[in-house]
Amino acid sequence: MQTLAEVEEGKSVRIVEIMGGYGLMSRLLRLGIIKGAVVSVVRNRGPVVLRFGDSIFAIGRGMAMKILVEEVVR
């Protein structure tokens, strides 16, 4: 298990846990990033850039460190 901030660029991961309050949860929920969602990390320097579905998102590193993920083997 690792946090989203530690994922190598190009890898796909499944979100296992979001360790944050309601505020953080609802911000992520608005973007569709919820437990169980599979996202791929496009860029991981500074803000973490993610691809989820057809969209690209950027989230802060602090936020990414609060998201636990597991690697998805394709």
Binding site: L24, S26, L28, I33, I34, R45, S55, A58, G60, M63
Partner: protein, 698 residues
């Protein structure tokens, strides 16, 4: 659509709400459908502006309401809340949900949320061609089958699918759509709880939202039901080991995935390799320093041009410093704002004044008309071109997709003040002028963050304050080194005060928001449509005239009265006016620094109107035409100069800024809080500066 303007007997007017996620092209569609003959008005009981327009299709009249863009039914701003209220209120014949194919997952999630509440829906899918070039193809018929409401592929710019969309809207409005019943999502374990609430008389859609903990709905049901809902929510959490909203979101996303799998095919991208946009993203996002510099220079360049055209600043300053002072003077006099003021001053002095003299009008009435009324109108109108151009700039940045990138890049710095990266725009604009800066806070999605920024923004030193700064520094400080370092100090101070104020206000619970950290979507780049940009900008400028203008204008009359009315009625001598009394009273605050001139007190008071007036008012108070003579008449020491300047840089920017803060929030308490914060922080800072400098051997 037939828009021939023939008078026909219209059987019924259908009310249709147009709803979309950001960047879906909603404005373009609305504009196209209504032929930009929409009108804008505040929504009843709200401070949110909503456009309404009329479309006629086959003799049937549709009243189309362009609701504010919404991200999700988990609302953050009053705009989003209005759209949600509209959806839940069900006072419409149909809803058009414009789906952005570039963020299909979230769009469909939103569609599902709405379909739970109502099936009077037509889904319009836009931007199919851009998606096709990225290898994404959508099966519209399949989607229609899965969602059980009409789905239409449209392109407003190419006039594709518009007639079909109108037909489908009418079909839905007349309840003639033949779908396979109402869309229903199975929430498995939650179904028994949903049934419980439905047994208490709630509709299914509302029951689901209540279990989700929708605070808007929870506030509007009776006490007993609310307690029941809270009980159920606790029970669910215990049973599932996660909150009901998480569970519901998961079920919906799984459904979205199923729908996408069945209706979307991914093929080879038409464009091989990375697009320009993707390469640009790689460049700015991979190196923070490069990214910051690139976006900062783009922003500065844009704002530089706009301010140079409208106010001359900062081009005049640059020209002056490279020795082209003739050019600098030319630009100072012949910028748009300057020309408008010149026009009004000519109108007043060369037309109205002689006319009134001819009619034997009393002196006070001539003075009031010229220096009160005409000057007031001029003050409002000289802002209009600037507000318009800033709106164009912001619309382009937003529509092109650059805004989201800026938010990412600048979040690293803006986090110091606890605000998002987009705040760079209101701040950058405020360095030119606080008024359009406040208007630019509209880009912030979270209302609480918007209030925080609006409270802190007046600390950003605008051009008018820079003029006062340069004047006073050159009057009392001889050393160019000390002059320059003082200027730098004041700008630095203004940013620090911005951060302090933004942080201070978040100690008040009403203005605190969690998760101020970055979380944004990066939409693909677009070239903005000029038609749409112009339409939005012009409309916002018109609303500035009516809303802010109605506050700025009377305020300028009040200020005229203060400086021209005294114990013995109308007077042209400031020492006999009400201003003398008020000025002597205001300056008492600066007694600890040894400053006692009522003239300065009056100037500070006039400075509430506009900072340009500070110097002018000193000249009038000391009865001289030469402003430098007036400023020097104060005989200030260096610590006194820098301390009073600190105050001038930080206290109330101008009445126009307060007016737009009021017209944007319609919250008098907040405006007063603003006033209080500005004045108290300005005082504290000026005392500190004085105390610190008095210890130095200057």
């Amino acid at each position: 659509m037939s828009n021939k303007g023939e008078l026909k007997l219209v059987e019924k007017e259908y009310v249709v709400g147009l709803i979309a996620l950001p960047n879906a092209g909603k404005t373009t569609l609305f504009n196209f459908l209504t032929g930009s003959r929409g009108y804008v008005a505040n929504w009843p009981g709200k401070t949110v502006e909503v456009y309404t327009g009329f479309v006629e299709s086959d003799g049937k009249k549709v009243k189309l309401i362009d609701l504010p863009g919404i991200q999700s039914l988990h609302t953050l701003s009053k705009e989003e809340e209005l759209t949600k209220e509209f959806i839940l209120g069900k006072k419409y014949d149909a809803l058009v949900l414009l789906v952005n194919i570039e963020s299909l997952y979230r769009s469909l999630y939103f569609v599902l949320q709405v379909l739970e509440v109502t099936n009077k829906v037509v889904v319009a899918v836009s931007k199919l061609d851009t998606a096709a070039s990225r290898g994404i193809k959508i099966d519209v018929a399949k989607l229609e089958e899965l969602l059980r409401v009409p789905v239409v592929a449209i392109s407003s710019l190419k006039n594709i699918g518009i007639k079909e969309l109108m037909d489908k809207i009418i079909t839905v409005a007349e309840n003639k759509h033949k779908g396979k019943g109402k869309y229903k999502l199975n929430y498995e374990i939650l179904e028994e709880y949903i049934s419980k609430l439905m047994a208490m008389g709630e509709e299914r859609g509302i029951a689901v939202r209540l279990i989700e903990g929708d605070s808007y709905l929870l506030d509007r049901i009776n006490q007993d039901k609310r307690i029941k809902v809270e009980e159920l929510r606790k029970e669910i959490k215990k049973r599932l080991g996660m909150t009901p909203e998480e569970y519901i979101a998961r079920v919906r996303y799984e459904e979205v995935e199923r729908i996408v799998k069945q209706s979307v095919t991914h093929t080879e991208r038409l464009t091989k390799g990375k697009t320009f946009g993707e390469k640009f993203d790689d460049f700015i996002l991979s190196n923070w320093v490069l990214g910051t510099l690139t976006l900062l220079s783009l922003t500065i360049a844009g704002l530089f041009v706009i301010f140079a055209i409208n106010t001359g600043f900062p081009l005049n300053w640059i020209l002056d410093n490279v020795g082209l002072s003739n050019w600098a003077t030319f630009i100072e006099n012949y910028n748009l704002g300057g020309l408008i003021s010149l026009g009004f001053s000519l109108l007043g002095n060369d037309l109205v004044k002689p006319l009134m003299l001819m009619l034997n009008a009393p002196a006070w009435s001539i003075d009031l008309v010229i220096n009160g009324i005409i000057a007031g109108i001029s003050a409002v109108l000289s802002f209009v071109p600037l507000v318009y151009m800033i709106n164009v700039f912001m619309a382009i940045v937003d529509d092109s997709g650059l805004m989201a990138r800026t938010s990412v890049i600048f979040s690293k710095i803006s986090r110091i003040a606890g605000v998002s990266g987009k705040t760079i725009f209101p701040i950058g604009i405020s360095i030119g002028c606080n008024v359009p800066g406040v208007l630019a806070t509209r880009i912030l999605e979270d209302d609480k963050e918007r209030y925080r920024v609006m409270l802190a923004l007046p600390f950003i030193i605008c051009q008018a304050r820079l003029i006062v700064m340069i004047f006073m520094l050159s009057a009392f400080i001889i050393s160019p080194l000390l002059q320059t370092s003082s200027m730098l100090f004041f700008y630095l101070l203004s940013f620090v005060m911005f951060a302090i104020a933004a942080r201070l206000i978040s100690t008040i619970k009403t203005y605190r928001s969690e998760g101020e950290e970055l979380a944004v979507e990066l939409p693909p780049y677009h070239s903005p449509s000029w038609k749409v940009v112009n339409w939005i900008s012009w409309d916002r400028s018109k609303s500035f005239i009516t809303k802010a203008g109605t506050v700025i204008f009377p305020a300028s009359i009040v200020l005229w009265l203060i400086t021209h009315i005294g114990m013995h009625g109308y007077t042209t001598i400031p020492a006999q006016s009400l201003g003398y009394v008020l000025g002597s009273w205001v300056i008492k605050v600066f007694k600890p620094m040894g400053i006692n001139d009522w003239q300065l007190g009056l100037a500070l008071l006039s400075g509430v109107m506009a900072k340009e007036v500070v110097i002018e008012s000193l000249a009038i108070a000391f009865s001289t035409d030469n402003p430098i003579v007036a400023v020097r008449a104060l005989h200030l020491t260096i610590p006194q100069t820098l301390s009073i300047l600190t105050f001038i840089m930080l206290y109330v920017p101008c009445i126009a800024t307060l007016a737009v803060i009021y017209s944007e929030t319609k919250n008098l308490k907040f405006v007063l809080l603003n006033l209080f914060t500005e004045i108290s922080l300005a005082l504290v800072a000026s005392y500190v500066v004085y105390a610190a400098l008095s210890l130095l051997p200057l």
